[in-house]
Amino acid sequence: MLAAIGVESVDELFEQVPGELRLDRPLALPEGMSEAEVYERLAALAARNADAESEVCFVGAGMYDHYVPAIVDAITQRSEFLTPYTPYQPEISQGGLQVMFEFQTAMSELTGLPVSNAGLYEGPSSVASAGYLAMAATGRRRFVVSRGLHPHSRETLATYAVGYGAEVVEVGLSNGTTDAAELAQAVDDETAAVFLQSPNFLGAVERVEALGAAAKEYGALLVVACDPMTLGVLKPPGEQGADIALGEGQPLGNRLDFGGPSFGFFCATEELIRRMPGRIAGETDDVDGRRGFVLALQTREQHIRREKATHNICTAQALNALAAMVHLAWLGREGYRELGELLVRSTAYARERLASVEGIELLHEAPVAREFAIHVDAPAGRVLERCAERGIAAGYPLGHDYPEYEDGLLVAITERRTKAQIDELAEVLGAAIAAEAGEFGVDMTHKSPGGIA
């Protein structure tokens, strides 16, 4: 090979790198390892995590411990889906393109909006992407955001807004849901978009249509973040006036993976199709008249339009969207609805059960679908610590994101959580609160307060 190139050594090829910029030592990294050794090293690290297999997980806050059916793994691990890249050559990418088309159809059905893209990175950055779209679509630079929107979404939107020069105004909650009067006050003719989430971060189902009226009045876009596992039973955003419905896709076919990779879904009205971020597959014909699929509307995209693109995204989450599609096909029309109903009923049971425990009050009374918020009469961090010692991840502590709910906990339900586990949660939580409250005279001095050991 060297002879064909006309050099003596590979080193010669690196001579284009100026000498002073060439690293004159090996990288300070360990030497390579055998496959068996790497496996052992990583298995040892994995063993130091308390995962949802080794404890009972009631933590949600945007990502949920759903059961991922085995066929999802079998199909997503196929080389033909796992190892190609973006379908730039449609003739040899019909499989991936058709999956995108099916995924778009499914997400459009779920959200009740006619247009879906093939997926974005994940939930919160999809919210920020909607902000960029809304700014371009309305020519305005002000966002009105419910405090019920996931704190990570609010923070991400704020991060992006500094870049594209927009202002973010927050509207508070009242008994768990967005304060309608405050929202109506906050929206004006400079508002590009109103952002809601339903169920919101505290689990409450919002009255999206009523809240959205303010956006409609002033010509702002209504952006609704939603949980794709609740749309079998909850009225979809598209039927409640949303211009954009989006969210975190993890509950559909994707593992927890300590936060990623998952995907974000992004659906919109027909009017916004040419402003959409991300890939979109479209149906067409080949020269012989056969049905086929291509990447449609590429003139929105960075590789064609550069600085005039609707978004900068290139690599997205195609494999994660495939996982979602397979999961949805597996659930099917009836299974998807049944799962939604199961979540609502189990959640209602858990909420009632916990509310009856001494030292627990509901944080709000609004209707919930799969997650709810409680207040515990003891330091939440220590209560969680005690529950963890008994093998239960009892919930997500609200105090960091919502100082006003210092000892608040968010409790999430999936189809994996049995009635027996919920009953156990009630018992363990009750005992933990009682112990912290000192009723059993437990010595707590060896515990650090909810923080680092």
């Binding site: 010669e12 284009q16 390579g32 995962d51 379908p87 064609i304 290139c314 494999l319 597996w330 189990s346």
Partner: protein
């Protein structure tokens, strides 16, 4: 062919009322009517029309679809700029361990020490490879890293009371660069390319001199998208730093220089690394990826939060790995939770497998393979019809121009690409970079053997020979693929982006 005809049905078209796959657990909680739990007006009238299909038919459907994809595990995939290297299956196995795959992202750091340590180790590894002291793993892909880098630049200048408006980028830059610049609220200023394929220093100087106080950043890929190392990088860095700007390294081409040269040593302040390129995360048909950023000391205070940190343990305790949320100067979050952790596991497994020497050798072999294939394509018909755009040794990829081929044979680069499909190859990247007419960008990667490179060169030679006899063969190609050329204009003019259901 029967299989192909059948496969064109969508999963929705295979639906028959009453069929299903899922059996759900029994909740054993009261069967309260839904309307008693949630007001009826907030409930859905009809469930979404998802397909009703049995499990065996779902498996068949997606297996059939998979056969309508070409993939890296089947054949050579020299898609320039995308680094289509082999994806070791060990990485899939370790990523699927329950301790990784079923770890909740909001788990208390005390009970996620393995995951946080892995992230910290990956940060340290990438810092060493990039030659920059601090890393954030948060960005989800390369372009997300670019946006992060530009927001960091904005924050860096804001702290000095400056508001700069311009970001310079060469005309060879990836499309994501200008798109990210626009999203970050800056204006793009294009810099010309010189006759050696590098940045035209005079033009750069002129663009800076127009208003040095407005230059926020220069975004550069090195080696650039022509596969060439910019020998003037030290001078370029000095010019930008003198003007007070930051220097951003688009790490899409890091695979060329691992263990040989480091962006930090070249003077860059911010680097993004595509873990799905250099560090073997499978491309997944268009993701997932991850785009961690490595930064210099002066950029560190502004890194996104949370940041994974190692805290030294007190008296006899080991170190504690934590998520640092108290970062007052941080630009804030770029996404939910901590990033694409599953990708981190795979990439860290890759780094452990190869080690220091292995990474350096990977880059050497990538560069050797590219130069060998370039040499093969400089022979015979390819050498005449598809000349190299800039005739010098390349790094890990190179760019050919199909201009003579088009002029002499009437064959566009697109035709050559489509004909390559019939020969069982994924074509190179086409029509990029924009400054090369009829461009063909070839990146073989280090995981290809000589025989594959030879077969690819032979196929090109054969296609060109065939075109000398009858250019129509390539112009009508492909013939052997599940579908032939598709009407993309129709798909954009009257977009059908979902299935109509009734």
């Amino acid at each position: 062919m029967k299989v192909q005809d059948e496969a064109v049905l969508t999963i929705f078209e295979r639906s028959k009322a009453g069929r299903r796959a899922a059996v759900l657990p029994v909740a054993e909680v009261p069967e309260t009517p839904l309307e008693e739990l949630i007001p009826a007006e907030l409930l859905r009238d009809e469930p979404p029309r998802l397909p009703e299909v049995s499990e065996p038919e779902i498996v068949r459907h997606y297996n059939r679809l998979s056969r309508r994809n070409f993939d890296l595990d089947t054949g050579f995939y020299p898609l320039g700029s995308c680094t289509m290297k082999h994806n070791p299956r060990l990485n899939e196995r370790v990523a699927a361990l329950p301790g990784h795959a079923r770890l909740h992202p909001a788990q208390d750091p005390k009970r996620a020490q393995g995951a946080l340590e892995l992230m910290w180790l990956l940060q340290e590894s990438l810092a060493e490879i990039c030659g920059l002291p601090h890393v954030s793993l948060q960005p989800s892909a390369g372009s997300h890293g670019e946006l992060a880098g530009l927001l960091l630049t904005r924050a860096f200048h804001a702290e000095r009371g400056e508001e700069r408006t311009k970001v310079l980028a060469p005309d060879t830059s990836h499309g994501t660069n200008p798109a990210s610049v626009a999203m970050a609220g800056y204006e793009v200023v294009k810099v010309a390319t010189n006759e050696r394929g590098g940045v035209e220093i005079d033009d750069l100087r002129a663009k800076i001199d127009e208003d040095p106080g407005q230059v926020a950043c220069l975004m550069l890929t090195n080696p650039n998208t022509l596969g060439l190392f910019d020998e003037n990088i030290a001078e370029i860095a000095a010019l930008i730093h003198e003007a007070g700007g930051t220097l951003y390294y688009d790490g899409a081409n890091l695979n060329a220089v691992m263990g040989h040269s480091r962006p930090g040593d070249m003077g860059f302040d911010i680097v993004h690394v595509n873990l799905h390129k250099s560090f073997s995360q499978p491309h997944g048909g268009g993701g997932p990826g991850a785009g961690p950023i490595a930064v210099s000391e002066r950029i560190e205070p502004f890194l996104p939060k949370p940041q994974v940190v190692r805290r030294e343990g007190g008296s006899g305790n080991g170190p504690f790995f934590d998520l640092d949320l108290e970062r007052p100067k941080s630009i804030g979050r770029l996404r939910g939770f901590q990033g694409n952790f599953g990708v981190f596991v795979r990439s860290y497994a890759y780094i452990l497998s190869l080690g220091a020497d292995g990474l350096a050798e990977a880059s050497e072999t990538a560069v050797l393979n590219a130069n060998y294939l370039k040499a093969r394509l400089a022979e015979g018909r390819a050498g005449k019809r598809l000349p190299i755009a800039f005739d010098r040794h390349c790094m890990h990829e190179f760019v050919l121009s199909g201009k003579p081929m088009k002029k002499e044979l009437g064959l566009a680069t697109l035709d050559l690409a489509k004909r390559l499909l019939d020969f069982g190859f994924h074509p190179p990247t086409v029509y990029f970079p924009l400054l090369v007419e009829e461009a063909l960008m070839v990146e073989p990667t280090e995981t290809e053997i000589k025989e594959s490179l030879d077969a690819f060169a032979d196929a090109i030679e054969q296609i060109l020979a065939e075109a000398e006899d009858d250019p129509e063969v390539a112009k009508q190609a492909p013939y052997t693929t599940p579908v032939r050329r598709l009407d993309e204009v129709k798909a954009t003019r009257k977009p059908v982006v979902r299935q109509a259901l009734d």
